[in-house]
């Protein structure tokens, strides 16, 4: 009965969505991103997704975009205003938009809401995330090859599960190619955004002997630029940052939301949109390694790209056992690999990372 009801609602929803799309001819699509749009980083990549939608659908879509809509109860007004202006699809670009976005979706069953990074879904509230950790393994390999001191330093904002997952995969990648790797050092900025502190964190890690830096979701390229200044290699999430460290950019975990965005809008146009979850990775061209340094030897580069293909084909999983945590406890048994739920909620550090997580 319940299943039937759900299916019926889903069908009705599809009809509503497709008919409204037909009636309006142009699909009205709203994009909300949490910060100003820069040259690199999260909001930049989200905006590239928006541009791809505009290009791909041309006259069939009418686009409205707002940036710098942070999380918190105020973001709901922007969403509601978009809904009141007749939006058919709304893309929400911050995890912090989850609760207000879900309420919006419940009130407006005819709007397709597509939310980045959350874990709750509803009939017309879909979520998407990318497998940063897959690219992180590859960037970690590059770091493992490049370090001479055997010390890698990571700068991160807060110990969120996604961040911990990226950190773990990165370190596993580095360890896989460098048996002499010492403990990886970590600085938690404990600030959502502070360019000067980001740079100082990089300097602090270098002062402790790190010769490869990993700037993890910094929201600013200042640590990357600082690495160039100090002459140490740098790896970074989200975008190729070569322009900020022309000689010292080692590798970037490049994400690409364009295929996800285009697929989602197409689903709405075809009346096939449902409140599902997309977790896209290398296989879906949503993640990859980019900006590899020419300083890497040819065989090192080939090994990294070969590993990328292994992940794409499913032959390799960054979190395949055996993996032990800091205390030496086995967290992933040999012969198994972590499932998506465990990856999304990751709450342990693999051995070889010198920091602690709050419990």
């Amino acid at each position: 009965m319940n299943v039937l009801a759900k299916t019926l609602t889903g069908m009705a929803l599809s009809i509503v969505l497709s008919s409204s799309a037909l009636a309006a001819e142009k699909l009205k699509i709203g994009f909300i991103v949490p910060n100003p749009i820069g040259e690199v980083g999260w909001d930049h990549e989200l905006d590239r997704g928006r541009q791809a939608v505009a290009e791909h659908f041309g006259d069939k879509a009418e686009i409205q975009a707002v940036d710098s809509v942070g999380e918190g109860p105020d973001s709901t007004r922007v969403m509601n205003k978009m809904a009141a202006q007749g939006a058919d699809v709304i893309f929400l670009g911050s995890f912090g938009h989850m609760n207000d976005g879900l309420k919006l979706a419940r009130r407006h069953p005819d709007i397709a809401v597509i939310h980045a990074g959350g874990y709750l879904q509803h009939d017309n509230f879909a979520t998407y995330a990318v497998r940063h950790y897959e690219g992180a393994y590859l960037a970690g390999m590059a770091a493992g090859y490049a370090t001479e001191s055997g010390t890698i330093g990571i700068i991160a904002a807060f110990p969120l599960p996604e961040v911990v997952g990226i950190m773990n995969s990165y370190v596993l990648g580095a360890q896989s190619v460098n048996p002499n790797l010492g403990d990886v050092k970590v600085v938690w900025m404990n600030s959502w955004f502070d360019p000067a502190k980001n740079k100082a964190s990089a300097e602090s890690l270098v002062s402790q002997g790190a010769d490869v830096i990993f700037s993890l979701f910094p929201g600013t390229p200042s640590a990357v630029a600082a690495a160039e200044e100090m002459g140490v290699y740098v790896t970074v999430t989200l975008s190729d940052n070569t322009r900020f460290a022309p000689t010292r950019h080692l590798a970037a975990i490049q994400v690409d939301f364009r295929p996800i965005y285009i697929a989602k809008v197409q689903e709405v146009m075809d009346g096939k949109f449902t409140g599902n979850d997309t977790f896209a990775g290398i296989k879906d061209d949503a993640v990859g390694v980019a900006g590899l340094s020419p300083d890497l030897a040819d065989e090192q580069r080939e090994a990294i790209l070969a590993k990328q293909e292994e992940i794409r084909s499913g032959a390799f999983h960054p979190f395949q056992g055996p993996i032990t945590d800091r205390e030496g406890k086995v967290v992933v048994a040999a012969g198994t690999s972590l499932d998506d739920g465990a990856i999304k909620g990751m709450n342990f550090l693999v051995g070889g990372i010198d920091t602690t997580l709050p419990n």
């Binding site: 050092k185 938690w188 360019p195 000067a196």
Partner: protein
């Protein structure tokens, strides 16, 4: 680069924007005016200085443009409190909001642009001294200039007539007025100087310290500057030491973390703030000594009669 040099040498750079702004605010407060728009002035100057340096390639022009923009904002504040007799706390906050808004608006197409860093100057011979050399004598020009301005202000306040008059205006504007000094003019100049210094501070933060433009990059440094003035009990030397202490505490937290010492990182992040309260309590214990330096008329508007 070792951790000790990172903390105690880096503290000069971290402290410089705080100190520039704090010395400006100190002068304003010494004249009896509380200007809480430091954060906004710094933000505006940071944006303008960044754009100027980015387009001209000259840090000097960046600093000049930043200083002028913050001075313009300080004129808005001065007009409100000196001419319109607006409450100083409210006027400072209002002007600050204007500055923050203009900062984000004007530089919105520069998001995540970067600049070449300012080169460090090595003092010949001295910078070769082990440990102390790289800490004290391997800094950029602005760091040295800022210390120079601090020393200059000490001389100004306690060695010159103009400094004495400024302090009298802050202590008791009625007496200053009856002695024939224009309270308005003196306060106006002090506010303008405060704007100039906050401008240099913002310019340093965006074109030297970071040097990347991001909206909202000042993240509370203007407020810390205001705090430093009180922390230093309105004395330039103590403000300078306070700024350095704060800079070292901020970097010390990062050094402890990257050194892998197992203390909760959030606890460490709190340390500079906790220490500030404790040190403030220690230096403020003696109420009489505080009263000697705190401008009595701080925050009160003065309207000349007749």
């Amino acid at each position: 680069m070792d951790a000790f040099v990172f903390v105690f040498g880096g503290a000069f750079m971290t402290a410089t924007p705080l100190l520039l702004a704090a010395l400006g605010e100190l002068t304003v407060e010494k004249s009896g005016v509380l200007n809480l728009s430091v954060e906004g002035m710094m933000a505006l100057a940071a944006a303008i200085a960044f754009m100027a340096t980015y387009n001209t390639g000259s840090h000097l022009l960046g600093f000049a443009a930043g200083a002028v923009s913050a001075m313009i904002l300080s004129v808005v504040f001065a007009t409100l409190v000196l001419f319109f007799m607006a409450n100083q706390v409210a006027a400072g906050l209002a002007t600050g909001i204007l500055g923050l808004g203009l900062s984000a608006l004007l530089a919105r197409s520069y998001e995540a642009f970067t600049l070449a860093p300012l080169s460090k100057l090595d003092v010949p011979l001295l910078s070769d001294i082990p440990i102390l050399g790289p800490i004290l004598f391997h800094q950029d020009l602005v760091v040295y200039l800022t210390i120079g301005i601090g020393v200059g202000l000490i001389a100004f306040f306690y060695r010159t007539r103009a400094g004495l008059i400024l302090r009298v205006v802050g202590e008791n504007p009625h007496i200053a007025h009856s002695l024939g000094f224009s309270v308005m003019k003196i306060r106006f100049r002090a506010i303008l100087f405060g704007g100039f210094m906050a401008g240099l501070a913002g310019a340093y933060a965006s074109t030297v310290l970071t040097p990347v433009w991001s909206q909202g990059m000042i993240v509370g440094r203007g407020w810390i500057a205001v705090a430093l003035v009180v922390f230093g009990t309105w004395r330039p030397l103590r403000v300078m030491m306070g700024a350095y202490f704060f800079g070292a505490a901020l970097l010390g937290e990062l050094a402890v973390q990257s050194g892998g010492i197992a203390i909760s990182s959030q606890l460490m992040t709190c340390m500079p703030y906790v220490l500030t309260i404790i040190v403030l309590a220690v230096v403020s214990r003696d109420a009489v000594r505080i009263k000697l330096n705190a401008p009595v008329s701080l925050g009160e508007n003065y309207r000349p009669i007749g």
